[in-house]
């Protein structure tokens, strides 16, 4: 298996405050990796650093090419789709316009049209609401829309920042089922940041645990889920 994303000694700063203290991890092509950790551990910062939305140093390589010092919008063109915390919905626009925006860097208009149909097949609720303002959707529907918008890029890697946030448990189950399917069937590698460790570990191949800006634990997701000591001390369940 080839390494798709390789992060080495990543340090990130908000003004004078250092949020990440030399964090290293990697993600294999086609795998689903989860970053776990408590509030403020640096999970979101890690995703933001990958897309150059926060000042950082260290090495970030995607498919062997360095991403450092590239603008956020040019990193998207490598095939990295980032669903930010809070979903980043274009609330004043329609559901369909949101999907078109996901594919705004693509040139193949026929492919875009068929991909929109594909998303409607994946998420039937979006088809029902395709002319509705995205802001009027429920939280779960907006999260579906955010994932669909990211997939419209035909990404190689999808970064998801707490997709379960604010959603009812049943909706979260649904969503994670869909993520697993996307990972297996569409061969999209996924890096997902989660506070809901139990669910994320069920889904993921590989897991990393972050605490105060450092990786404190890594390994096979099953092993971590089965290790009671790690679960109790870091994951709180």
């Amino acid at each position: 298996m080839t390494t798709l994303l390789n992060v080495k000694d990543l340090r990130a700063y908000y003004g004078q405050v250092q949020a990440l203290h030399g964090l290293s991890f990697s993600l294999n092509e086609g795998s689903l990796v989860t970053l776990l950790g408590a509030n403020g551990a640096g999970k979101t910062t890690t995703l933001r650093a990958i897309c150059n939305m926060v000042r950082s140093t260290g090495g970030i390589e995607f498919d062997g090419k360095p991403l450092n010092n590239r603008s956020t919008e040019s990193i998207v063109r490598f095939g990295i789709a980032h669903v930010p915390q809070g979903r980043g919905t274009f609330t004043t626009m329609t559901v369909e316009e949101n999907l078109q925006l996901g594919a705004i860097t693509r040139k193949d208009s026929a492919g875009i049209v068929s991909d929109i149909e594909r998303m409607y097949a994946h998420f039937p609720v979006l088809k029902q609401r395709h002319t509705q303002q995205a802001g009027t959707l429920s939280g779960g529907e907006q999260q579906m829309l955010a994932v669909a918008r990211a997939l419209m890029l035909r990404p190689r890697l999808m970064l998801l920042d707490e997709p379960s946030f604010g959603l009812a448990p049943l909706v979260v189950r649904d969503l994670f089922g869909i993520l697993g399917k996307i990972n297996r069937e569409d061969k999209v590698s996924i890096l997902v940041v989660e506070q809901n460790a139990q669910l994320a570990l069920e889904l993921a191949d590989q897991a990393y645990v972050i605490e105060t800006g450092r990786i404190v634990m890594s390994g096979n997701a099953k092993d971590i889920a089965n290790n009671e000591e790690i679960r109790k001390s870091y994951l709180g369940y």
Binding site: T72, V76, P84, T91, T92, M93, L101, I104
Partner: protein
Amino acid sequence: MELFTNQVLAGIATGAIYACMALAVVMIYQAIDHLNFAQGEMAMFSTFISWQLMQWGVPYWAAFVITLAFSFAAGIAIERILFKPLTKAPVLTNVAGFIALFAIINSSAGLIWDFTIKQYPTPFGSAPFLGSQLISTHQAGMIGVTILLLLGLYFFFQYTRIGLAMRAAASVPESARLVGINTSWMIALGWGMATAIGSIAGMLIAPVVFLEPNMMGGVLIYGFAAAVLGGLTSPFGAVVGGFLVGVFENLAGTYIPGVGNELKLPIALALIISVLVVKPAGLFGRHIVKRV
């Protein structure tokens, strides 16, 4: 009754110009959250360019198109050179930037073309429109050009990918970057378009107010009033506000004793203040709620 109809139609004609100015102001406000105080001066300068071209023998519509292209490029250049570096600067720094721009453009126009009033031609003539005394062909032309412009803009923002990208960049910049939109260039593009729209307003109003470096002062204040009335966050509102202000201005000047021509401008200012007091978001604006 005829006086009333006449005043309303004339109000719609000047309202079309206010609508253009308001639209230009709103486009830039949407992109960078600041009011462009120099919008009127930029329009005035563009109008002088078209006048100069015509002096050199270029036909009206050719001069019109060249001026649009010039204004578009100039708008982008102003954004790149002056306001892009100010992106993260405090509000007052930006305001100072706009005032500097205002002074620079106003004085350069005076320096190049001096401050004497000049005649500006109209391609529509000034005969009665369709034989009616109610409205002149030039006024009808002002309304017609504005409506064409508005339809074009609507089509652009609603049905083209670049229009979609511009709307996305203005509404949620961070998400726009995350889908790969170069938001910084979208802002520059917004400046270009706003400047071009302003130049249309300038070229259409110049035959009415005559051409001189201070010609747009009053027009811009009406444009601001229109934008505030319609809601600074709503391009549609700005257009409606423009027409409303135009009609209101004329009716107030005709029917309220003592207002006449001289006190029309304070009416616009009073309108701005009343809207801000009674309904700060304007007629069509969104109420912006910020989480603290």
